[in-house]
């Protein structure tokens, strides 16, 4: 079925190198476009924690989750900048 889809794409949109597109899928968001942020590992974990609070149904107040996550990320960054001027 994928082959038929590909053929359709090739006729609909001419002159595109589909090889590049399919190979580049492996590199989607790698490296993450936000990786340059200091302490990215810690921040990502804090944000994911917020997400999991919502997904698991523990926190039903989305605004609270966002505020808490924001505070946590801010704290991480503050700590970082305090020691890396």
């Amino acid at each position: 079925m994928q082959a038929a889809f590909l053929e359709q794409l090739k006729t609909d949109y001419l002159g595109i190198d589909y090889d590049v597109i399919f190979k580049s899928i492996d590199y989607l968001d790698k490296p993450n476009n936000e990786e340059w942020i200091p302490e990215w590992g810690k921040i990502e974990d804090a944000l994911n924690n917020g997400l999991s609070l919502v997904y698991s149904g523990t926190e039903k107040d989305a605004k609270k989750v966002l505020t808490d996550a924001n505070a946590e990320v801010q704290k991480i960054l503050d700590e970082y900048w305090a020691t890396h001027k």
Binding site: E39, G41, K42, D45, N48, S52, L53, S56, T58, T83
Partner: protein, 307 residues
């Protein structure tokens, strides 16, 4: 016994000692390179800010202070202790009971032993993956099974309240490893003690309480100490089931996992070293406590206590 033909000839004892040291050299060298050296180095790192790329930067007690104020540190300790307090006693009771059952002289006992030991030889990763699917509230088999009894099963691994319980259940599946040790301990109880007890008119339960149990306290002690240390090293199953995040909502953020995140995800090597040494001290303290208490409840062969 030394031959005094001059300094060139070594005494027999001397020669024996040199051979001994030579043979254990692989271990002594390894001990220095892979144990003492790293331990001292990590103690050093714990006073620095180190991210592996730049050289360590001395910051004194900052890591320890930050650790004390780190909510996640206390949370991780809490999670680990909670798991230990539930899983250890439960596991020990389970495995001891199973060992007693497997010690009976019934036909085909070897088949049962084979089956019960089997789960303990399987990879942590595979076990975690398998049980992760079993616990799935929609497509797993645990919740439908509970439903047959009218119990509405929780989300298990996706419910922060139940995640730890799920891990405990999973760990009970692999008790086989401990059962083997208890079984060996049970089989080591001298039978003439049982005979003497029978002559004294002791019932089965009394024989268990006053002969079996006391005589197997060394094995219980061994399993308790190693079990405690093992709990603080719990990593593989948690990592696999939560993709390294300790979720849901950090409810399974074990100490070892948080340490791993700090060291190899955030590259806070100094901070992680601090965590490692704090862990070492905690484990050391608990182990010493258990050792001390063992004088009260562990009976070694040759000791005469009580009945």
């Amino acid at each position: 016994m030394s031959f005094s033909t001059g300094k060139r000839t070594l005494s027999l004892a001397r020669r024996e000692a040199l051979w001994a040291y030579a043979f254990i050299a692989p271990w002594t060298v390894g001990f220095l390179i892979f144990t003492i050296g790293p331990m001292l180095a990590s103690l050093f790192f714990s006073f620095t800010d180190y991210n592996i790329i730049d050289s360590p930067r001395w910051i004194g007690m900052t890591n320890y202070v930050n650790l004390f104020h780190d909510d996640l540190f206390w949370h991780a300790l809490g999670v680990t202790f909670k798991f230990a307090v539930i899983a250890l006693p439960l596991g020990m009771v389970f495995s001891y009971t199973i060992a007693v059952l497997l010690n009976s002289k019934i036909k085909g006992i070897n088949i049962w032993r084979t089956l019960y030991f089997l789960p303990s030889v399987i990879a942590g990763v595979a076990v975690a993956l398998l049980w992760g699917r079993i616990f799935d509230p929609k497509f797993g088999i645990l919740n439908p099974f509970l439903e047959k009894f009218g119990i509405q099963g929780p989300g298990w691994l996706s419910d922060p309240q139940w995640a730890i319980t799920a891990l405990v259940i999973m760990s009970l599946w692999g008790v086989g490893g401990n059962v083997i040790i208890y079984l060996a301990g049970l089989q080591g109880v001298p039978t003439d003690l049982y005979d003497a007890a029978k002559v004294d008119g002791a019932t089965g339960w009394q024989r268990f309480r006053y002969v079996t149990l006391p005589m197997t306290t060394p094995v219980i002690f061994y399993n308790l100490v190693l079990g405690l240390i093992g709990t603080f090293q719990y990593f593989t199953e948690v990592y696999v089931l939560t993709n390294g995040a300790g979720g849901p909502a950090r409810s399974t953020l074990f100490y070892n996992l948080y340490l791993y995140q700090n060291a190899f995800k955030y590259f806070h090597m100094g901070y992680a070293s601090t965590m490692a040494w704090v862990l070492f001290i905690i484990v050391l303290g608990l182990t010493l406590l258990i050792f001390r208490s063992s004088e009260l409840w562990v009976y070694y062969e040759g000791q005469i206590k009580g009945k």
